[in-house]
Amino acid sequence: MRQPVQPQFLDLTKIRLPLPGVVSILHRISGFLLVLAIPVSLYLLDLSLRNREGFSHAIAISHSLLFKLTASMILWSICHHLLAGLRFLLLDLEIGVGREQANQSSKIVLISSAMLTLLLLGVIW
């Protein structure tokens, strides 16, 4: 069977993604980051539930700079993944599939996930 012809040497700096494409790739990147966060979350839950010392240790970790920086990125990932995911669910229901509406909803997702993240950052920092 012949291999299908695939585009070669894609120049990422020359690709202009439309806004829905940006939302889509960020949905993928945030999902990947969230998968990495699963074992870390399990570790912290495990530690915090083990005994009193573990609980204090987990709280100490949560106050560290490294944790807060990581948590900030994960919070954005959750916000973006959730809102972009809701947008995809609406698209499944054929709501907002027109080009204008798709652009509009992409803007809404990008802006509201950034604002929601800032709001949550205020809580953890």
Binding site: R28, G31, F32, L34, V35, I38, P39, L42, L45, D46, S48, L49, N51, R52, F55, S56, I78, L82, G85, L86, L89, D92
Partner: protein, 110 residues
């Protein structure tokens, strides 16, 4: 094409799990912010061991790991075209996610 091979089942599971994950996270966020403030290990421990939350959290991790499997599988199949590399990465992913599932069970059922 059959229901199984078309990917419709993965498509559907991804959406069902997504809805549960979102509802669970909203519920936990509300419980932690509006409920009694948690200041001690005892309060924290009793929160996660109360039967309803314990069960809901177990289901959350199961569906989250399933969601992660479908999403990561899509990523691997999109970017890794070499058959053997694909197989290896999928196997490693499966082992890692299964490990997380067992870990979650051990944390929540003790």
């Amino acid at each position: 094409m059959s229901w199984h091979l078309s990917g419709s089942r993965a498509w559907l599971m991804q959406r069902i799990s997504a809805i549960y994950i979102a509802l669970f996270l909203a519920f936990i966020l509300i419980t932690l912010t509006l409920g009694n403030a948690i200041n001690s290990y005892e309060q924290w421990h009793s929160l996660w061991t109360s039967p309803a939350i314990n069960l809901a959290t177990l289901l959350f991790f199961s569906l989250l790991l399933l969601h992660a499997w479908v999403g990561m599988r899509d990523i691997i199949l999109d970017y890794v075209t070499l058959f053997r590399a694909r197989l290896l990465l999928l196997a490693l992913l499966g082992i890692a996610l299964l490990g997380c599932q067992l870990w979650a069970i051990r944390i929540l059922i003790t």
